[in-house]
Symmetry: C2
Amino acid sequence: VTVHLVGAGPGDPGLITVRGLDLLRQADAVVYDELAAPELLDEVPADALQISRAGMRQPQIDELLVSLGRTFETVVRLKGGDPFLFGRGREEVDALAAAGVDYEVVPGVSALTAVPAAAGIPLTHRGLSAQVTVITARSAADDDLDFDSLAAAAGTLVIFMGVARLGELVEALVAAGKDPATPAAVVSSGTTDRELTVAGRLDEIGELAAGLPSPALTVIGPTAAFAATVTEPIYAAVTTRPS
Amino acid sequence: VTVHLVGAGPGDPGLITVRGLDLLRQADAVVYDELAAPELLDEVPADALQISRAGMRQPQIDELLVSLGRTFETVVRLKGGDPFLFGRGREEVDALAAAGVDYEVVPGVSALTAVPAAAGIPLTHRGLSAQVTVITARSAADDDLDFDSLAAAAGTLVIFMGVARLGELVEALVAAGKDPATPAAVVSSGTTDRELTVAGRLDEIGELAAGLPSPALTVIGPTAAFAATVTEPIYAAVTTRPS
């Protein structure tokens, strides 16, 4: 009996791992994030239990996983992106370990690299960026971000989620000394057929991105300028079922 | 005719994406990194051309991809990890675009999240880390790393490759004000059955990691302490062929 924490990937169902899909196809019970591609649930056996985590708080999810892990042979916790980067996966692991339930973590393709890539943006590029810094817009509220060190960091800054707070974050970065002319891009629903990208200067990106649907990811730094060189997504979303 | 830049994942062949494996199975020609799992090449049709990039410089790889892209129907450029994070993937894309050869980027699971995860280490964790900074040890030589801002950055610092240079990097971080008691871990060949992890304080990690085989990845920050809580890899390497 094992609970498998599986990264569903960034949006396109074809970007789940081979191991992750194998597990979904033999699952007795699946607890899924809303961000996971709905096509992936079609791969789960018809008689398996499928539970959305929508509306559940983290302690409830932890309890549910422990309970399912005690009852079923193969439980999959399907998480958007990668379980261990802004995924709270370790909290679920700790709950399972404390209850004596076996677990496994199956890493996934994170939006971190895949979503910018889909818009033509590499996080690193020779001569332009050799360093990446990653935060969430939510960090700004729950944790104390140090805007001085963020503004001073070389390379590429990636902000997960929170387009609504983007203007406020950008203002804080510029106030801390970040060049307002730094290239920036926001990619909404990257790797899916709903993908939308806007690009411009840092000091205009908040306005440009206003109203873009979630999930969205922001890239700030010299490589964000590559977004402007792409006229269509360079990763073509796979709309068929994974084979 | 399309050249597909495919991320092979962090080591375990089961961590390639479903889309990446599909492309390998229909490839007419494959140009592969040494870091890609050898089991993946078993999936390539027997009559396909298989070329190692070992010993080639980047401009030669670019020329080769353009040439293959003009001749074959399906060309796969199989890259370790993810093509757009320390993968020089955009350079290959630019060469193909300049030559008028169609291309596609298929993101992969980066060692960034998967290798720490395999050792039990989340990059972010509530109350411990809400920010991730990523560099390569090589950046220290080729680019000018700003150790003041690296030492001041909150959260988790991840260093790709370069265990040989780790002691030198750590010294520079501590000299710039990073707490020498910060937890640190080095994971060698993460997600494979050769995985080895060492963990300790920042000021002793260089010595602890001496001699660990490449590829290796270093994690510095509060979440690195999770490595000590794991007695065996929490991601079990899939040694069988992907199904």
